[in-house]
Structure formats: C-alpha cells, structure tokens
Symmetry: C2
Subunit: 351 residues, 2 copies
DNA sequence: CTGTTAGCGCATTCAT
DNA sequence: ATGAATGCGCTAACAG
C-alpha cells in the first residue's frame, strides 16, 4: 500500500468536481447541502481514505480545538498514581467525553518554557491545586478569554470549586474525640513552608492560612480540639510532603515506634493514603486498631472502604468535583464558585 | 485590564518595526539572528503580553504538535481509576514530560465520529489494549506515517510491547500448586466472547487464542495444572468483565458462598483487583487466608503489597512499560517489539 | 443549495 | 543577519 500523504479536503473536492465548501459542509453542517450530495461526498471520501478535516487546520481556522487542558499542581507521574487526582480526572473525562471533547494533561511543574506552547491549543483549563510556580497560571489568565476553573484553591477571580474542608475536619475530629483520648497526633500533608517529612516543631513555619486545603483541615481539627479543652499546642504534629506510601511510611514508622507512653492513641490524618499507611504499619507492629490506636483519614478513596478494617474518613466526591469542573469549563454550568458537601464515613478504624 | 485578544506574531513584528521572520526566529532559532535583536524582541514581547507562537498555527505550519495521544481500550473514566492503566500512563507521562511533549487522552470507546477529529492533531499514538471497536485504530494506521505503539496486544505490523503473560502465569500457578489443593478455581478477566460476570459454563465461548493477554494467562494456568495431572476441564472458572471492586464483588461472593464442599481452596485470579476483592470478602466471611483459601493475583499493583496480608502475585512493571512505549513513540528507542519480564512476588495470601 | 474568496497565525524558503 | 512572500488545510462569509 502507498498512502504517501493524507489526502486533503481540497484534493477531495477537486477529485469530486465540487467545491471545498461543499466537502467541508458535508462533514460539519449537513443542513447546508442536499442529502444526495452529502452522501456522495462521504462515500467518495471513505473510498479515497479521507478521514475528515484535519484537526490542526480546523482548530486554527475556527479558533477552537475541542481540547480541554487539565493543569495539575504536581508532576503528572505523581498525580496519575494518586487516587484522589485520578478520581477527579475520571469525572472530568466522563463529562468531556460525553460532549465530544478530549483531555490534555499538563503539569504545573514542567519547565515553564515548554508549557505555554502546548497550552495555547486548549479551549479551556481546569487547574487543580495550588501551583508551586504560578507563572504558567498567570499566563493562562492573561492569555485571553478562555474559561479557567480552579479546583481546591483560589485563582484570582476565576470560578473555583471547593470542598467543605474546615467543617468536615471539625466533624470527624469531633467524632473521634467523643471517645476519650490520652494523646492525639495530627499527620499533616504539605503544610510547612519548607519541605518536611517528620515531626513539626516550633522551628517550622506553616503555609499561610486560607491558601491550601490542608491548612483549612488543620483549622477544623483545632476547633474540635479546643472544644474539648485540648490546647492545639499540646497536640503533636507531623508533616508529609507527598501522598504516597513510600513517603508516608517512614514518618508513620517514627510515630508508631515511639515508646508506648508517648505514642498517640488517636491519629487524625489529612488523607486516606496517610491513614491507610498507618493502618498497615500498625498491623505489622501488632498495634490493635481501634483498641490501641484509632485512625481517621480524609478523602474517602475506594481503597479505604474496600478493605478491612474500613477507614473512618471524610468522603469528598472527587469524581463529582471533576464532573462539575468539566461542566463549568464547557459553559454548561454557571461560572460561579461552588462548595461541595462532604460526608462523614464511620469505619472500623475509629468507630 | 483589557487584553481583548492575544497579540499575534505579526502585530508584534509591526510594533517593533522588524520582520515576522525575525520574531519567529527569536523564539525558535536563536542562531538565526543577532543576540541583541533577539533580546530586544523577547523583552518587548513580554512587555506586550506576547506569550510565544500560537500552538494551533504552529502545528499547522510545521505539521508537528508535540502532543502524543494515548488511546485506551476502555472508557477514560474507567481507565483512570484502574491502577494498572494509571501506572502505565504515569510512565508515559514521565518520558513525554522530559522531552517537552504533552499527553492527550483518547478512548477507543467514544462515538467513532468524534475521535478522528482530535486524533489527527497528535504526532504519534500509544494504543493500550485490544479495542472493542477497531475502526479508530484502523484509521490511525492508514492515516499516514505517524508512529504507533501497541501495548498489551498486537496491532498489525506495528511495534508492540508485551509482558511475559503465559510464563508468568505458569510460574505463579506452579508455585501455588506446590501445596496440595483439593479444589482450584480460576477467576478470569474479560475472557468470554459475550459479556459474562459469573461462572463460565460450556455454553460460553472464549475469546480466540492469541488475541488477549488474559487468554495467555489462562494458558499458563492450564499448563501448570496439566503438569500436576489436573485436567483443566475439572477446574471451575468464573469470568469478570470489569476490573473494579463493584463488578468483582458479586462474582467472588458467589464463589465464597458456595458450600464448603464445593468452595475452592485456591483461587488463581487474573488481576490483583480480583484477588484483593477476594481477600476482602473472605475476611468478611471469616474464611482464613491462606489456611482455608489461598489466593494469587496478577499485576503487582502497590495496593496489594502495602497491606496485610500481602498478595502473592506476578509483578509487571507497568510504569516501565509506559516509559518504553513513550520512548518508542518518540523515536528514542528502536521501533521493534519488546517483551518485558515479570517477577513472581510471594506474599502471605499464597505462601 | 452550491461555489468563490479570504484569511486563521505562523515557519520557511529565497532574496538582499 | 534580516525581510518579503508563500501556503500549511480548512471554514465562514458572501455571492450566485
């Protein structure tokens, strides 16, 4: 076989003896030509191996590509392995697919040089999580009138989607604190100004309030603690930089290997991944859950529910968050900010 | 603020009193103009908010977009939630990122009408898994000289990446059968001609040999069974259509709820997801692992190793599979087919 | 209902 | 080292 080059619309038109407009209309606007001609064009196109208008030329001409870019705060490699991010993407993909759009993955972590290139092809952007490097996002904002939706953080006056982090954390901590505790520990996620995997001391500065979701979660924990007359300062805190087992494990091992007199009997974790790692390491050490150690998570990922003991956690519907973001970026939903509800899920790790 | 429209290269050139070629060269070919002029252009560009050449126009002109499309056999919504597919994507993204390319997600399940549109924008394709609808893939093949890499199945004479499915399955079954078993059961993944979630009877036709990875895995199981003088026909088989807890659970419940005299004491599962679901449901029923029931998986996903009991499984490095696919599609690796090795991982579910 | 025309924004010859 | 000209493939006005 020898199809040296994709045939073009113009060539097809010439071959058929019709105008390029008719061929274009045959593919794009059926109502603009007679069914008979359309039929003839489509048939001949198939015969000659013409697969429809070229996406590159079409997008240049129309200004639209039917591509929506998702910009992820972390590296793609990491985000794709993270259950929460994957669920979000899953929800986004569901809606985009249903509306004939496709999904381009970008990372806020790339060399700032490359990104602008590919990004100007997208019709809109969903930006997930606070970027370490805001340069890219600022470009997107200034680049024109393309819709931008921020998820889990605020981006100027762009519409944003949030989850009820503070009330949810308050609720789960309140639940956990109903059972008397002698020592509570909090395991945070990306909360310190400078990277830290381990115990948070007074030497560590925390990220500013109001910027990150984990800061809101901490506020909820603290409110519930205060309500029990437990001073937040008396509660030990640890920090974790990356929501993976490998990064979580050493920090949790450090906690669980504390002498029994110092080891917490309640761990408030900021993610299910952290909590699940705690469960695994506790099991390995013969620490009984929940008798010796109660554990709460946050996110409600499937892995935490489809195992035993089931995680006590806050369920945020990341898939729905993705669907909503996609509908907003496609203009199917008002471009105002949304705050999604969460649900307290009582498992066996903290009954 | 009022940036009504993104400024164009031509306008910038006019503003500066230089030719469009110089502006273009300032961004693309630094060696083609004096450093002084280049500096001036870049500076003025930044000042006027010109973010570099438009991706749509640039890709039309050059014929290259720096976008690689990954075509997934299943829906995107499903694939993004699947640990194996996510790891593959993770590996792909890692390499693409490092080489300044971006990742476009396509599904082989979309309305065939939409896909061709967006797909012609990509510089190359990685096709993952046997498509239910081969129409799209046939288009990609005939569409020209863009590189295509097939993963986990064969696509005409395109280069393909495979895993040692048959030997790996043989090895794990052989290991499992070292311990005497009274009743072995096999839980397959997408193996029947027509969809089936449940027991496979003689009424079910299986997919043709050599097409799907699960068929190869079954062959490995059967070879090990035959070696123990166990007739494959005497081994009960079940089938599962989708690698999710929700779909796996009812089928495994059916198996585990068989009267003790009929219930298998060894389950050879074709995926870790199936095996993990079996573990969870067995635990719920007080069936002891491995005393009452031994379980093997396939894939080696993290979830199976970072829990207790750890899964006995075959580890395939999906991330490396993705990296290799990406290097091949970028032309950094010979375009010949590859077969990746696997590793037997002995956990507690089948010591 | 159909055909003609004029760019979309850019990279690349080929002159100078 | 720089500038003028051409067209990548297509769609949207418009004219017939």
């Amino acid at each position: 076989m020898s199809s040296p080059r994709r045939i073009t619309l113009k060539e097809l038109a010439a071959e058929l003896g019709v105008s390029t407009a008719s061929v274009s209309n045959a593919f794009n606007r059926p109502d603009q030509l007679s069914p008979a001609l359309r039929e003839r064009i489509l048939e001949e196109a198939k015969r000659l191996g013409y697969r429809g208008p070229d996406a590159k030329a079409r997008s240049l001409r129309t200004g639209r590509s039917r591509i929506i870019a998702v910009v992820l705060a972390e590296t793609l490699t990491y985000s794709l392995k993270d259950a929460v991010a994957s669920e979000l993407l899953s929800g986004i993909a569901e809606v985009l697919d249903a509306h004939g759009h496709t999904l381009l993955l970008l990372s806020g972590r790339q060399d700032a040089s490359q990104v602008p290139g590919s990004s100007s092809i997208a019709d809109g952007f969903i930006v997930y999580g606070l970027m370490a490097n805001m340069a890219l996002v600022e470009e997107l904002q200034s680049a024109g009138h393309k819709p931008i939706v921020a998820v889990d953080f605020d981006l100027g006056d762009q519409p944003a989607i949030h989850v009820d982090n503070e009330p949810a954390s308050y609720a789960i901590a309140q639940h956990a604190l109903k059972t008397p505790t002698s020592r509570t520990g909090i395991v945070n996620l990306r909360l310190t100004e400078t990277p830290c995997n381990g115990r948070i001391t007074s030497a560590h500065a925390l990220l500013p309030t109001g910027q990150t979701i984990t800061r809101s979660r901490l506020a909820g924990f603290h409110r519930a603690l205060a309500e029990q007359d437990i001073s937040p300062d008396s509660v030990a805190m640890w920090n974790i930089e990356e929501n993976t087992y490998e990064v979580c494990a050493p920090v949790l091992a450090e906690i669980l290997d504390l002498p029994a007199s110092e080891r917490p009997d309640l761990l408030l974790c900021m993610s299910d991944r952290i909590a699940l790692t705690a469960v695994t390491l506790a099991e390995q050490r013969g620490i009984r859950i929940p008798e010796d150690l109660r554990i709460t998570g946050f996110d409600g990922i499937e892995e935490g529910q489809y195992r035993s003991p089931r995680l006590t956690t806050v369920q945020q519907d990341s898939t729905e968050k993705g669907r909503l973001a996609a509908r907003m970026v496609l203009g199917l939903e008002s471009a105002s900010s949304h705050r999604l509800p969460t649900k307290l899920v009582l498992g066996e790790t903290c009954p």
